[in-house]
Amino acid sequence: MDNRQLQIRLGLGAIALSLFLILIAIPNWVSVPSNVPHIVLSPVFWPYTLAGLMGLTGLGLVATGMSQTAGGPPLNEQIEDEKQGYLRLAAIAVIMVVAMAIMAKLGMVWTSMLMFMATVLVLKTRYPIAAFICAVAIPLVLYAFFAHVAGLAIPQGDFVRLP
């Protein structure tokens, strides 16, 4: 994707977002009391103003994009195997979703350890032993600090509970 394509796509995205906000999001998801004396004091005034500005910015992005010449260099650094890159990103997304899902059951410390190890596996570190030590030690050290120094109630989960 070159600069021109990016600018136009962002512009169209901004216009679409603006229309979505004006036509659907603000009317449905912002509550307005019945006794607002002036429109400028209404809870919807600010969101509508921002949505309008978003539309104008989108038009500006499209206009500047159209004025540029096509065929510039790609904006993002190319990697050898893009498919592998997308798979790794998907794997990180799965790790995050699973971590959020199991945190209540397993507790933050054990979840963090598993999350660390899973992330290291996705990134394919050359130092697996050091990574394993860090995966165990870092969540424990953070737990010790936040639970015992800062006095926070770190979620412990239903299984092995730490002192």
């Binding site: 901004a14 910015t57 790794r88 990134l123 130092y127 936040f146 979620p155």
Partner: protein, 506 residues
């Protein structure tokens, strides 16, 4: 309260070991983080922030300020050694620092960077002490209309942090302003985009949003290209900086310090332009101008003085007006808020001991920077050896604990992870993240002051032009907008000059 009383109150607040340990630790963390390419000073401050919640306000804030100052200097280490600025502010340092390193004079370049940084830091801190109080006493006359116009002007910061395209910066800022509308309405208490979820009624957590925007995208970028960071380091060489080098460069250091102070006190300009301006002025005035760009020690001194001169000065608008001067001070505002403090003119009345405590701590931080920076120059080899594929998962886990610590809320961790993906998408789409964050912070203040002004006037916009202060800020905003529109709307700028390797993301 006289100046001496205030000073003594500040001194009594900071005169304990814990404060100085925190300050020293902050400088050390900052130098190390700044020295690791990709681990910017911004990210370091963001990740350190949650650790300050359990500390006394002055201790926690000085820890963060230490990280800030250390991080700005630390960025010069990889700039000189591996041609990769650890922070955008160090970009100008590359131009003469790297050629010196190639000649085997890395130690001399790093030494000069440290001395110039410490001198500029001291000048900047003294300027803060001199000007912040004066500005705050002036700002005590501000009401909602004045604050509205001030914050509107401050939003022009976005032009300075928009990077390659101003319109993309504006797009990013509008996204931030929109996200800031989530929560209960400030006047009527009705729901705005909360979907009935009690977690959303107080708005999205600022720390979760900022860590999501600045730390998590690095994790995702690493997943996309795990070997993209591999580079080479070099030895320091045997040459060290001498007093003669320092004396020769002193005029450029002093000039750069004042350039940094001036630009730093204007919200939004930041350290990188100050470094480049200081560098170009030094080159213009130097008898060795032909040597600049080929490894001139005075060039390193000027660039570092420029970017470090900004560090104390960005706190002038922060402390006096409650307006962040750059992204890092925007994060530091979070620390004030967490401790129930609102930076601004009233702080000079209500928390004068804290203000003077911070001033004293900042002066001491220059000395810490000198000591810790000297050690860091020698120890950088070990810092650079931390494998990034272990460092990045560590950042992820630190982020999770840090965000949870704010409100004891797992929901906030979810917000952070989602914002991480938003930040990564923005990174891939070349939409700058700093305007998003600054707008997210200033958005509620802007709306709140606007609506308070409208309540005062019964809905008449005339109140927004009620006196010389509002006219002054309207004028500044108009001039800035004119300059921005004249230069900035031509779409993305061409890529940077060949002298600078891709700077770390801010």
């Amino acid at each position: 309260m006289t100046f001496l009383d205030s000073l003594m109150a500040g001194l009594s607040l900071v005169s304990n070991l814990e404060v100085f340990l925190a300050l020293g630790l902050g400088v050390a963390i900052g130098v190390i983080a700044g020295a690791i390419p990709g681990m910017s000073a911004t990210m370091a401050v963001a990740l350190t922030l949650p650790f300050t919640f359990s500390m006394q306000p002055v201790t926690g804030i000085l820890l963060l300020l230490g990280v800030y100052k250390g991080g700005i200097f630390g960025g010069s280490i990889p700039a000189i050694l591996i041609k990769t600025p650890g922070t955008p502010a160090s970009s100008a340092t590359v131009m003469d620092g790297y050629p010196m390193a190639e000649r085997g004079e890395a130690g001399r370049a790093l030494g000069m960077a440290l001395w110039a940084s410490c001198t500029a830091d001291l000048v900047s801190n003294l300027s803060l002490i001199l000007f912040a109080g004066w500005l705050a006493s002036f700002a005590l006359n501000f009401g909602p209309p004045e604050f509205f116009t001030l914050i509107l002007f401050s939003l022009t910061i976005i032009a300075g942090v928009s990077g390659e395209s101003l319109l993309r910066g504006a797009f990013s800022a509008l996204l931030g302003l929109l996200l800031a509308t989530v929560g209960l309405d400030l006047i009527y208490g009705t729901n705005r985009f909360t979907f009935g979820d009690p977690n959303m009624m107080g708005g999205l957590n600022f720390i979760a949003v900022l860590i999501g925007l600045f730390a998590i995208p690095e994790v995702l970028a690493m997943a996309w290209h795990p070997t993209g960071h591999l580079g080479k380091t070099r030895s320091l060489g045997k040459n060290k900086v001498t007093f003669a080098d320092y004396k020769k460069s002193f005029r450029s250091i002093l000039r750069g310090s004042f350039i940094g102070v001036f630009l730093g006190s204007i919200p939004g300009i930041g350290a990188a332009p100050a470094a480049f301006l200081s560098y170009s002025e030094a080159r213009r005035k130097s008898p060795n101008k032909a040597n600049f760009g080929k490894g001139e020690v005075e060039g390193v001194a000027a660039a570092e003085a420029g970017n470090n001169g900004v560090a104390g000065a960005t706190l002038i608008p922060l402390l006096a007006l409650g307006v962040p001067g750059d992204v890092i001070t925007a994060i530091i505002i979070g620390a004030f808020m967490v401790h129930g403090l609102q930076p601004g003119p009233m702080m000079f009345v209500v928390n004068v001991d804290l203000i003077y405590g911070l001033f004293i701590g900042l002066i001491v931080s220059s000395v810490f920077l000198l000591v810790i920076g000297s050690a860091a120059i020698r120890g950088f080899k070990y810092v650079a050896d931390i494998p990034r594929r272990i460092l990045i998962p560590t950042v992820l886990i630190l982020s999770i604990y840090g965000v949870f610590a704010v409100n004891n809320s797992v929901f906030d961790i979810g917000v952070m992870l989602v914002m991480g993906w938003v930040g990564y998408l923005m990174m891939r789409m070349h939409i700058p993240a700093p305007p998003f964050l600054i707008a997210f912070i200033l958005g509620p203040l802007l709306e709140d002051n606007f609506r308070q002004a409208m309540l005062m006037s019964g809905g008449s916009p005339v109140i927004l032009f009620r006196g010389p202060i509002t006219w002054f800020f309207w004028g500044l905003t108009a001039i800035t907008l004119y300059a921005i529109l004249r230069t900035g709307l031509r779409g993305p700028k061409p890529p940077d000059s060949d002298a600078v390797a891709s700077p770390a993301k801010n």
